[in-house]
Amino acid sequence: MLQFLLRRTIGALVILLLISAVTFVIFFQLPGDPAYLSCGKNCGPAQIDLIHRNLGLDESIPVQYWEFMKGIFVGRTFEIGQCDAPCLGVSFHSREMVWDTIVDRFPTTLSLTVGGFVVFLVVGLGTGMIAAWKKGTLIDKGFSSLSLVLSSFQIYFLGPIVMGLVVWNHGWLDAPKYFPITDGVGKWFLGLLIPWLVMSTIFTAQYTRLMRSTMIEQLQEEHVRTARAKGMSRVYVFFRYATRGAMIPIVTILGMDLSGLLGGAIVTELTFSLAGIGRLAVESVTNIDLPLTMGVMLVGATFILLLNVVVDAAYAYIDPRVRLG
């Protein structure tokens, strides 16, 4: 088990290294000259030269990449100041350290994704299980058709509608806003409740459908029938036998959906004007702020890969074949 996780973690690190190299080359080598982007329209060759030296752009690509990677571990010194250990460079636009900006924005995205994740897992799997338990009844049909329709409600469509109903028309809740959890759990919870629900709607609906069909499949398996025939109660067999078997395909698909979760966070942040790293990514792209984009990319990729390792661990826990194979 431990060995399996270790292997997966090393794999994730290798992938991260490759992603950083690829993005670095794409961002700093392909599009003309980043120096132009950082100094505006009326820029003389002398200024460009200066920026080149300041950013280390006069070096070759491998040297630049090496400097960048070294900066993450030991820090770098720029003309405008010292950039401490996890150094991802300096923003072209705001002249602030990229790492500090990301640290400032990251908690919002973390709360958003983790909360949304919990919502869709609990609600999606729960309703899926209920639908499978009550297969063929009105409840099942209701849940199934509801999830079919809801799985096509995009965040940017549903978000404003919910805002209109809950916030502007009735004033049941304040407009969504991120409060650190240290400000009080209730405040944090109510501030993100609407974004969580809206963001997870599509996932919830999809996982309801998925859980229902895999549960029904599992309930028809031989071993489940044998367990029932031996006299175990329906509830016990449902949870201990069928659910466990159903979790294997669910977790597989979960692993593939993780990057979609981050994508959902981006749209959610834009829809509800929350200042997370998704919106930061969009802002940095609009401002052509390459170091910031690069930093957000790396942090986002790390986040997703970390979650992937967690999913792998869950996978190994559920399915003994993975652990031993």
Partner: protein, 321 residues
């Protein structure tokens, strides 16, 4: 027609015919298929429809008729300015016609999605076939490359890279032509979209490779190329079509996502995704603007998902829902 002899005669049916017969029997599938077709049709006929309707998505009608918008730039008529002249209302702020905007916006998004789906499917099939059939080291490395692309945080990457691709073709401070934007979006979504198909086809090919008929062809002296083309490809058509129908709505949403975020098509090109961006900003004051694009999208995606399920059932009656 005499029912006797003709009906009794045994007829050979190709798998394609069988699939078509099964599909025709599935009422949900036929209806949803018609809805999907309807969307593509009205999108394709957008210029004709807008000519008959007498308006286009670019003209700022509020400049000609000052009564359309009030002092705050909101439609002065009830329900977002819906009337006999403006079927879906008037766009707040600029005063363009919402109906033709949606029509042309759907055209942009749907046909982009169709094009991207075709290129990703072709790429995925080629890579999957090669990996599955060649096996060995080729398969190993193709598999690693696929894994690598799959581990990208794709939506984040799309946002970051699309402007870079655009800047490859256009110098700084230059106007970006629309076809270059279209090309960049296609390139990025293509680059990040082929992996699922390639994995699927690789798996299918891997199991087909060992079948007797392939072996027989090999013994008979068929070349690799011939085996790939004549023996394997016809047998992976089913998974290609099924996966393809699932891929298309997803691609459509990705195109819309890019435009929503602001790195896709820009004004004045009409675009489905960008309508949501605008509608979200003004929703508090002008909620009607969101209604038609939103409802159209929900209908389209629901219909396409149902259609996809039916296609799968028709091809592969064994797999239940």
């Amino acid at each position: 027609m005499p029912a006797g002899a003709d009906a009794k005669k045994l007829e050979g049916r190709s798998p394609g015919q069988l699939m078509w017969i099964r599909f025709k029997r599935d009422r949900t599938g036929v209806i949803s298929g018609c809805v999907v077709l309807f969307f593509f049709l009205i999108a394709a006929l957008a210029p004709v429809i807008s000519k008959l309707y007498g308006k286009d998505p670019y003209t700022l009608y509020a400049r000609k008729d000052f009564d359309l918008l009030d002092d705050y730039g909101l439609p002065s008529g009830p329900n977002g300015g819906i009337s006999g002249d403006f079927w879906f209302g008037v766009e707040p702020g600029l005063g363009r016609d919402v109906f033709t905007q949606l029509l042309y916006g759907m055209r942009t998004t749907l046909y982009m999605a169709l094009l991207i789906t075709i290129v990703t499917v072709v790429t995925g099939v080629i890579i999957g076939l090669i990996g599955g059939y060649a096996g060995g080291r080729t398969d190993y490395w193709l598999g690693r490359i696929t894994d690598f692309f799959m581990s990208f945080p794709s939506q984040l990457f799309m946002i970051a890279v699309t402007p870079v691709v655009v800047s490859l073709f256009v110098g700084r401070n230059e106007e970006v032509p629309t076809y270059i934007r279209a090309f960049s979006i296609i390139a990025v979504l293509w680059f990040l979209g082929w992996m699922g198909m390639s994995r699927l086809i690789r798996g299918v090919t891997l199991s087909l490779r060992e079948r007797e008929y392939v072996e027989a062809a090999r013994v008979a002296g068929a070349s690799r190329w011939r085996i790939l083309r004549k023996e394997l490809l016809p047998n992976v058509v089913t998974p290609i079509l099924v996966q393809g129908t699932y891929l298309l709505p997803g691609t459509m949403l990705s195109v819309a996502f890019l435009s929503y975020v602001g790195v896709g098509f820009t004004e004045p090109t009409p675009d489905w995704g960008r309508m949501f961006a605008k509608a979200g900003h003004i929703y508090e004051n002008a909620p009607t603007y969101m209604f038609f694009p939103g409802v159209a999208m929900v209908i389209f995606v629901v219909a396409f998902n149902l259609f996809g399920d039916s296609v799968r059932d028709a091809f592969d009656p064994k797999s239940g829902r």
